[in-house]
Symmetry: C2
Subunit: 365 residues, 2 copies
């Protein structure tokens, strides 16, 4: 990974953003920038310096992982160690006062900000920085896309296992366990999120994590799952039907499938994510199902399972080559059932590539 | 669970804390208070009212789960919906201005606080509330202790599986996968954290999550793992030895074991957590190993794997019956090896009960 390049590009933006330094506290942003994967870290960027602060638990790990920044192991929490370092190494080259330290307002807590302020010497001021790293992370580089492709393939390989396991009477939990074991055997260190297996009327819960409930004799089973490989997440959903199929089940499934396809077909550079969302919603409107589509159409995926951009109504972010998003419309009839279909989609130079290789044909078990 | 009682006790503290209302945003605090387990929620407590705000994804789930509070499903993010509700239902009974809204400074981000301020009508002021909920959560009630006991037993049941799997050449990952599959079969919906299997020189990483590395022919293997059952976490560590055992391996193991035992023996009501930490550290000092004990001695466990109190040097929190903490000293010789031993310990009326049932005898495989 080009950690040094990522940090340098950020350092180059500092003066333009009128920041003297930038204190990165969000862990996956730290990982993105310098490779450190520990749970206690702060990355401080000034125009000239790149320092990754951590604590004694991570001495060896930080030295192994961090690229392009100096590792500082402190006895105080990393944010405070960074503040103390800044105090000791304040720039003398310019007389400008106050020195502006950029923080990540979406991640730094109110209490941590207060502690940081207290630890900084006089002459420093905090300013909420724009989401510079989140913007950089939206567009994946070649190496990231390779990791994502690998995660998608391993993720998709779990679906046949799910199909073999799903049958009336088997607990949702058990289906998830079998899938997760297969994921581990395939080399995934962890799942992207707690596997969702939501059967029968639980399929109407958009986030119905696998429960103790046995799969009923009839109804939809929503399977939403993904794996993390080399830090990168995959995310997919397929919905299958168990038992005797009625017309209404086929109709709702096909409506969701068409909505998902319509959204996929809008994906290309220059289109806003709001337009992608609208394509799915418009199709469901025609079937009088739009009011049961209660979440957004998708989200970016990368080091985190949910990252920018949000593919949601009214969002103005413009798609660019290298972005990886999910397209996952769903329809949920409370107390009855639900259907969701989700792929991961890479924005290419001239359009899109659906990364998820799995069939979306209506499947009855 | 006594959700209503928990919320009422908090409501009773509001006026004493000079708060007119309290906006709870931390998800496990919300779960603790009203039972809601979704990922988007805000719980608003006033002297008279208890409302749980969520969004359309969680309509059914919130109605099923929330006890003792009214569910409000909004189109805006839960925190903002709560702010709008406050604006509409401001108390007229007292003329006091401004109305003080308590927030959780350790969890609310700087940016969310700004959005919240912007969404509140004039006449409201935010104030960082003391950690009232964290304090309440430190002392577990009977039902919580039952859940924790169950999680500890299921967690401990994975260790024999680990012992059967650990042998030279098997990947750390594979050991973790086999344990996690066993956990799922035993009914655990998820692990408390990414299982740590750290073998050979990786055992010197206090947080060495299971990797692709095969277990070498000789050295320690640190196994740190836990499960979540009914929302409650377990956490335990055992360290075993693979290959031909030398005196130095036995010595370091016994030092850690004695340090852990010394810390356990200090646990009783009225003792500070700092004293518990000191007991472990003092013993390691005698063996000249204290400088290799680079983390704190333990932490509270409950709905979260790490919660108050921190069992660390200088911490003043006083142990009370019903607290559940880990005792987990470790010694890590960088580049060589490491040993950690961890139990969960319940503070009882007159002393302690070690919940973890697993032997701590030196084990060579």
């Amino acid at each position: 990974m080009d950690h040094l390049g990522r940090m340098r590009r950020l350092q180059e933006q500092l003066s333009q953003q009128r920041l003297d330094s930038f204190l990165v506290s969000q862990l996956s942003n730290i990982r993105y920038l310098c490779g450190f994967t520990g749970s206690a870290g702060a990355l401080l960027l000034t125009e000239r310096d790149r320092r990754c602060f951590t604590d004694g638990r991570y001495t060896s790990q930080a030295r192994q992982e961090v690229k392009g920044a100096k590792v500082v192991v402190g006895r105080t929490p990393p944010l405070l160690a960074a503040a103390q370092w800044l105090g000791k190494h304040r720039r003398n080259s310019r007389s400008r006062t106050p020195q502006i330290l950029g923080i990540e307002g979406e991640y730094l807590t109110v209490a941590a900000q207060k502690r940081l302020k207290d630890a900084l010497p006089a002459g420093f001021r905090l300013r909420e920085a724009p989401p510079l790293i989140e913007r950089a992370r939206m567009v994946k580089d070649t190496e990231e896309i390779q990791h994502i492709r690998a995660a998608v393939v391993v993720g998709a390989s779990l679906f046949p296992t799910a199909l073999e396991t799903i049958r009336p009477g088997v607990r949702e939990n058990e289906v998830a366990a079998v899938m997760e074991y297969a994921a581990h055997k395939a080399g995934a260190r962890e799942m992207s999120f707690a596997t969702i297996i939501a059967a029968g009327c639980r399929s109407a819960l958009p986030h119905g994590r696998a429960s103790e409930q046995p799969i009923p004799s009839e109804g939809f089973v929503v399977c939403d799952f993904g794996v993390i490989l080399a830090g990168y997440c995959s995310d997919m959903t397929r919905t299958v039907y168990v038992g005797r199929v009625g017309e209404d089940a086929r109709d709702i499934y096909e409506a969701v499938r068409e909505a998902q396809q319509a959204a996929i077909e809008t994906v290309r550079p220059g289109v806003t994510v709001g337009e992608v969302d609208r394509a799915a919603r418009n199709l469901l409107k025609k079937c009088n199902l739009a009011k049961f589509f209660t979440h957004s159409t998708g989200h970016g995926v990368g080091l985190e399972i949910h990252e920018a951009p949000r593919v949601a109504a009214g969002q103005k972010e413009v798609l660019c080559p290298g972005m990886v998003i999910t397209i996952e419309p769903g329809v949920y009839i409370p107390g009855k059932w639900g259907v969701r279909i989700e792929d991961m989609v890479l924005v290419t130079e001239h359009g899109r590539e659906v990364l998820t290789p799995t069939s979306k044909q209506f499947t009855a078990l």
